[in-house]
């Protein structure tokens, strides 16, 4: 489990940030992206995958959340 931060990037998509390792990356896809259900598996541009417990979408970004590392590129 790792603390990650989800934020908006300049193009309006999601961005992933892992403070512990100063990793910044784009998010290519998020499994659930509706106001009621948000999270699930997120795929990073680097090829890594993280899992956020599906939950109601946060009121405001950036948002810190616990995530499970499923597969990281590095």
């Amino acid at each position: 489990m790792a603390n990650i931060m989800i934020q908006r990037d300049s193009k309006g998509g999601y961005q992933f940030y892992l403070p512990k390792r100063d990793l910044e990356d784009g998010i290519d896809s998020m499994e659930f992206d509706t106001p009621e259900k948000w999270g699930g598996e997120i795929k990073l541009s680097s090829g890594g995958t993280y899992y956020i417990e599906p939950q109601p979408a946060p009121a405001r970004l950036p948002y810190s959340v616990r995530a499970k590392r499923i597969d990281a590129a590095e």
């Binding site: 934020q7 940030y17 910044e24 680097s46 950036p62």
Partner: protein, 482 residues
């Protein structure tokens, strides 16, 4: 010499790497790259933020340097204790020329060195008692200080002193913030982790202190984050922002105070100059307080103009109109500077190797003078720094991460730049080789270089160095006939 092609640059890297043993070569190869603007993600071409190889000459610092020297040190009305043996504090004392206003020793303490001067008995029996006594002494001798930070040196982490407990107790006694910073030098691979630890300490011990108190805010409150006022940089930046009609409520941390830091959460926008050392706290404030942050670049008129307009876009039309006025006001002045120096500097080639934001931020300033940056690298950059650099640099130019003494020397010998910009440790070798050199950490004791005022000084300094007649007169000692 004309610009090198991609193949030539790649061949140069391979040639320089040849002297290493195979294992070292493999490792170093990942840190050297030929710039390719089509690459979106830097990690595909360059590795960064890894441990330096034992045995090579690296130019990096330590976590203590990142915390005490960069982030905390410039906060002028706090006393920063170098907790541990005397050397770390003494040899780094007042080295960064973080200018400030105040009377040193009375209400400002920037250039002073406070240390607990660890001896053998403190290592054996622990130094907590000494630290507590030191804080009481400080309170007696310097009653106008606004707070204390404790910057740990290596032994503190090794012997397991509980500086947090001492801090909490002392803070109650003297009724001022006492901040323990766990920036022991063995943490991390470079000063970069020290910045992160320092930012986290600010987040945990300082930032929320005035959340409950009243603050008379205006819609135009901004902060300058990550400007260390080297040679007066932050002051030059501040005047421009104030001319735009903004109110600068905090400077981090050059010429900054504890009160300014505590009031930062009341700002409407955080302006972030040194992304590498202060993005952590900016991200935190964005999440907790909803204050957006924006990276800006105040090197060279082109970049300043872009940045000013981007900043103005966050505010209403009066600010936007003011900004255009400011840009129009300075345009003829900047044109005069360019007209004067561009003919003398046009077409010259520069190699840079510095830290923080400068390897990419100063490129625009050189380009405004008609110069070209042919190689750049970060001492302690991360992937996100290189992501931002790739677009700024020309194709087929050199990128080097945590470059070693040997590599840098060989690159300079082969690329033959007209100017090298790096730090004091690199200065004399290149000067002896007859290559003009500017220190880009301390602006070679000149400055400011930020903002409009700074650009005029920057252009003058570059001309002064490059067109100095002394360089052709130099023969390196190792080439002299015996």
């Amino acid at each position: 010499m004309t610009a090198m092609t991609r193949e030539e640059t790649q061949a140069l890297i391979q040639e320089v790497l040849e002297v290493y043993p195979e294992k070292a070569r493999k490792d170093r190869e990942k840190h050297l790259a030929v710039n390719d603007q089509s690459v979106e993600q830097s990690k595909k071409c360059i590795t960064s933020n890894r441990k330096s190889l034992p045995g090579v000459m690296t130019i990096r610092g330590c976590a203590y340097a990142g915390s005490k020297g960069v982030v905390w040190g410039p906060i002028k009305d706090m006393i920063h204790i170098s907790h541990g043996p005397v050397g770390c504090g003494q040899y780094s004392r007042a080295g960064r020329r973080n200018y400030y206003v105040g009377t040193t020793g009375v209400n400002a303490f920037g250039t002073m060195n406070f240390t607990s001067d660890f001896q053998e008995k403190d290592i054996v029996f622990g130094g907590d008692k000494k630290l507590a006594k030191l804080i009481t002494e400080i309170e007696g001798l310097f009653p106008l200080h606004k707070g204390i930070s404790i910057q740990s040196e290596c032994p503190i982490g090794l012997i397991g002193d509980d500086i947090e407990a001492v801090s909490k107790k002392a803070a109650k006694e003297i009724n001022k913030p006492v901040v323990p910073v766990r920036c022991e030098s063995f943490r991390g691979v470079s000063q970069s982790l020290g910045h992160h630890i320092a930012n986290d300490a600010i987040r945990d011990w300082v930032l929320g202190n005035r959340d409950e108190s009243k603050f008379e805010s205006t819609p135009y409150d901004v902060t300058i984050i990550g400007d260390y006022n080297i040679g007066g940089d932050a002051w030059a930046t501040r005047t421009i922002l104030e001319e735009m009609g903004l109110r600068v409520i905090a400077q981090w941390s050059g010429d900054g105070t504890l009160a300014e830091m505590e009031n930062t959460p009341k700002a409407k926008l955080n302006l972030l100059h040194c992304y590498r050392s202060m993005n952590y706290i900016s991200r935190h404030m964005e999440e907790k307080y909803g204050i957006p942050y924006m990276e800006y670049n105040f090197f060279g008129p082109t970049k300043i103009e872009n940045s000013l307009r981007e900043i103005a876009a966050f505010f209403d039309d009066t600010i936007k109109a003011n900004t255009e006025k400011v840009i129009a006001k300075y345009k003829p002045m900047m044109q005069a500077v360019i007209d004067k120096y561009k003919p003398r500097l046009e077409g010259k080639r520069v190699m840079l190797y510095v830290g923080g934001l400068r390897p990419r931020h100063v490129i625009g300033a050189y380009e405004d003078l008609g110069m070209e940056v042919v190689g750049t690298g970060y001492e302690f950059g991360h992937n996100d720094d290189y992501d931002r650099t790739i677009k700024e640099m020309g194709n087929a130019t050199l990128l080097y991460d945590d470059v070693t003494g040997l590599e840098f020397e060989e690159f300079v010998k082969r690329v033959k730049p007209d100017l090298v910009g790096s730090g004091i440790k690199e200065k004399f070798i290149f000067q002896k080789m007859g290559i003009p050199f500017r220190q880009m950490h301390s602006w070679d004791y000149s400055g400011p270089y930020h903002s409009y005022d700074g650009f005029a000084i920057f252009a003058r300094d570059m001309d002064m160095t490059l067109n100095n007649p002394c360089w052709s007169q130099l023969t390196p000692p190792w080439k002299k006939a015996a």
